[in-house]
């Protein structure tokens, strides 16, 4: 993981190395005479994932977490910065080589109803990443499909069925099987359980953890649900308006978070317990990403912000042995009393 690496530069090469990644999208022109506006979807994100470890990315909609996933999957070219998988920069590879490299990183999407082609059999859907890489004879292919289906808890006989014959949780298992068939080292999962019911969500989360234990996979798990990320990840990055504002282990983040935004997210999670009196959150203005604004992007929503925060944007800095935060007043946030957990 990131911080461990910084402590010992001789540590092994990270599986995924994202450096200063930025992505800008051009807005539709509002006037013929004005230059088109731009949205900074991603503003210099740096992260590393070691083999067998998982990085969770949390944030509200518009924080850039899905853009981050698409860039890591090399589905788009970044405006600047680099994404390297096992030391190779994905955006400098020839197209043909990138296609072959894709066997090492696969993606699981949010909506198991939209991500499986309703006209294709499960065998064909699951085999597609392999067939896209080259020809393979039918028997071997079917054997490999059967193997991955068994790994995700489905039966061989399910191979010749079609997506409509499965429930949401089973479909998500099929999507995971499709990601597993190339024996990837990294799986990027964008909200993999948010479309599922609570009881099914638990089954899929357990499965993801089993597969990690079994194959030493790494995950990048994108979610708006802090509890899901907490359950599965070794490290969490909290994103706000295209930047990582806090990064660290789940234990550190939940025991003493250093960024007021992380705290706001944690406090907003409703607690399922008796006597859960509503905690008033107070109105929070919803900030937008104006280009060229100075100061901390979170300042307008922050209760602790002072003049200094509004003038100078804080850089991501070390606030604990393995914890980074982009806040001038991180120490003050960390000194706040811990957030009540559900159990207490």
């Amino acid at each position: 993981m990131t911080m461990l690496d910084q402590a010992s530069p001789s540590a092994e090469l990270p599986l995924l190395d994202v450096k200063d990644l930025a992505q800008r999208y051009t807005l539709p022109r509002e006037s013929v005479f004005k230059p088109a506006g731009q949205v900074h979807a991603l503003n210099g994100v740096t992260a590393q994932v070691m083999a067998g470890c998982s990085l969770g990315v949390v944030g509200e909609s518009g924080s850039g977490k899905s853009t981050f996933a698409r860039l890591v999957m090399a589905l788009e070219r970044p405006s600047s910065g680099s994404v390297s998988l096992m030391g190779r920069d994905l955006n400098r590879m020839p197209a043909d080589e990138l296609r072959r490299a894709r066997r090492d990183f696969q993606m699981v999407f949010q909506d198991p109803y939209g991500s499986l082609d309703p006209r294709q059999s499960i065998a064909r859907i699951v085999a597609e990443p392999v067939t896209a890489l080259g020809r393979m004879d039918r028997t071997t292919l079917r054997q490999r499909v059967a193997t991955v289906l068994r790994q995700v808890g489905l039966r061989d006989a399910d191979m010749d069925k079609f997506p409509h014959e499965f429930s949401g949780g089973q479909r998500q298992r099929i999507a995971i099987a499709r990601a597993l068939i190339t024996q990837p080292k990294l799986i990027v999962a964008d909200e993999p359980v948010s479309a599922l019911d609570v009881s099914v969500q638990a089954q899929v989360l357990n499965l993801l953890q089993d597969l990690q234990d079994q194959f030493g996979l790494s995950y990048i798990l994108i979610s708006h649900d802090l509890a899901v990320v907490d359950y599965l990840c070794d490290e969490i990055a909290v994103m706000y308006l295209g930047r990582i504002v806090e990064q660290g282990s789940p234990e550190d983040l939940f025991a003493h978070c250093a960024h007021p935004y992380t705290r706001a997210l944690l406090e907003a999670v409703p607690r399922a317990r008796a006597g859960g009196v509503r905690r008033r959150r107070g109105a929070q203005a919803i900030a937008s990403q104006s280009v060229g604004a100075t100061g901390c992007p979170y300042a307008s929503r922050c209760a602790l912000a002072d003049q200094h925060c509004r003038e100078i944007a804080p850089a991501l800095r070390k606030v604990g042995p393995a914890q980074l935060a982009a806040c001038h007043r991180a120490e003050a946030v960390m000194a706040l009393p811990p957030i009540s957990s559900e159990e207490s």
Binding site: E60, G168, D197, A202, D225, R271, R278
Partner: protein, 337 residues
């Protein structure tokens, strides 16, 4: 209006809904009963296909024509089941309003926000267009939309998800309804926005003395926002009672399973989530006995014979389970885990 403070504003008794699906008739709801007094809040929890949304649609009179409704739904003493569509139209948006899960699909992309918020006023009251517009601005302002006067002429796509949900709430509140039904109002929203919307709804319920039926799959949302709750599974209410009582002493194995299955903040990595074995039953082929029997860890033969009746396990706390003696003894373990 009228009615004394003690008579329920809305009373649902033994509600049953049979839907015609591609797989034949399905009993989507059976034997659901509850009552809400003015100013009371009730939460419905359950997974997809448990019948919670069908119950809400039955209250709103929005079920397809082929649906067969049995039992009774009374609003201020007058029967709603079998009411003609024309008469239902006079109630909908006027005395009973609903907030839907997905604010983007609940709003018409071709009309301005202001026009949509004003629509119930134009339909149900004698407001002029100008008055309705003025009222729409006031409503949008009340639900916390910044710059309401300027944004009243904006279209839904120009609003963020939270703002759209505020607009649908303004729409639902336009005619000061007696009953507000909120079907997963915050599921499509971020946690921080969810907090704001739930705060707003709590304020409005207190301010206007409405009764609210809040439907959610999120136990946390239910725990913090309603006085009483009902857990639905397979078309029936399997557990109901005061929210605090249910969270303190969960009686039904399904409620307990649902509670245990959630990933929780601060639970150490490496602990496995306790899943509920099996999957939610299809409504078209529900078992004859307890609907949860096939997934229940403490099932017995007698559970499969008939649907168990609700057993009182505390004041106003009912559990539809034959084995509450066992399940309630285990409940202490659930909450401690």
């Amino acid at each position: 209006m009228g009615g004394s403070a003690n008579t329920p504003l809305i009373e649902v008794r033994d509600l049953g809904v049979r839907l015609n699906t591609s797989r034949g008739p399905a009993q989507a709801v059976r034997g659901v009963s509850f009552a809400l007094k003015r100013g009371e809040t009730l939460g419905l929890v359950g997974e997809s296909g448990c019948g919670k949304s069908v119950t809400a649609l039955a209250l709103m009179g929005l079920l397809p024509e082929s649906a067969v409704i049995s039992g009774s739904i009374r609003l201020d003493g007058s029967e709603l089941v079998g009411l003609s569509d024309a008469n239902y139209c006079k109630l909908r948006g006027n005395r009973i309003s609903m907030i839907f899960q997905e604010p983007m699909t609940a709003l018409n992309p071709m009309h301005t926000i202001g026009r949509q918020v004003a629509e119930p006023l134009r339909r149900h009251t004698n407001c002029s267009a100008a008055q309705a517009r003025k009222e729409a601005i006031a409503l949008l302002d009340r639900v916390g939309l910044p710059d309401a006067a300027k944004r009243v002429d904006a279209y839904p796509h120009q609003f963020s998800g939270g703002q759209r949900q505020r607009a649908t709430i303004a729409m639902a509140l336009a005619c000061q309804p007696d009953v507000l039904i909120a079907d997963e109002p915050t599921t499509a929203l971020d946690v921080t926005i969810q907090g704001q919307i739930l705060d707003l709804m709590a304020d409005l319920v207190a301010e206007r003395g409405m009764s609210m039926l809040l439907i959610s799959h999120d136990l946390g949302v239910i725990a913090e926002n309603v006085q009483r709750m009902a857990v639905m599974y397979g078309g029936t209410v399997v557990e109901n009672g005061a929210t605090d009582a249910v969270f303190t002493r969960m009686g039904h194995p399904y409620t307990q399973g649902l509670f245990r299955a959630r990933p929780r903040l601060g639970v150490r990595k490496g602990t496995r989530l306790k899943t509920i074995a099996g999957t939610v039953p299809e409504l078209a082929d529900l078992p004859s006995g307890c609907t949860f029997a096939d997934r229940c860890a403490i099932v017995e033969d007698r559970c499969r014979v008939v649907l168990p009746a609700a057993v009182d396990v505390g004041a106003g706390h009912g559990v539809r389970c034959l084995r509450t003696d066992i399940s309630m003894a285990e409940a202490a373990g659930v909450l401690g885990a």
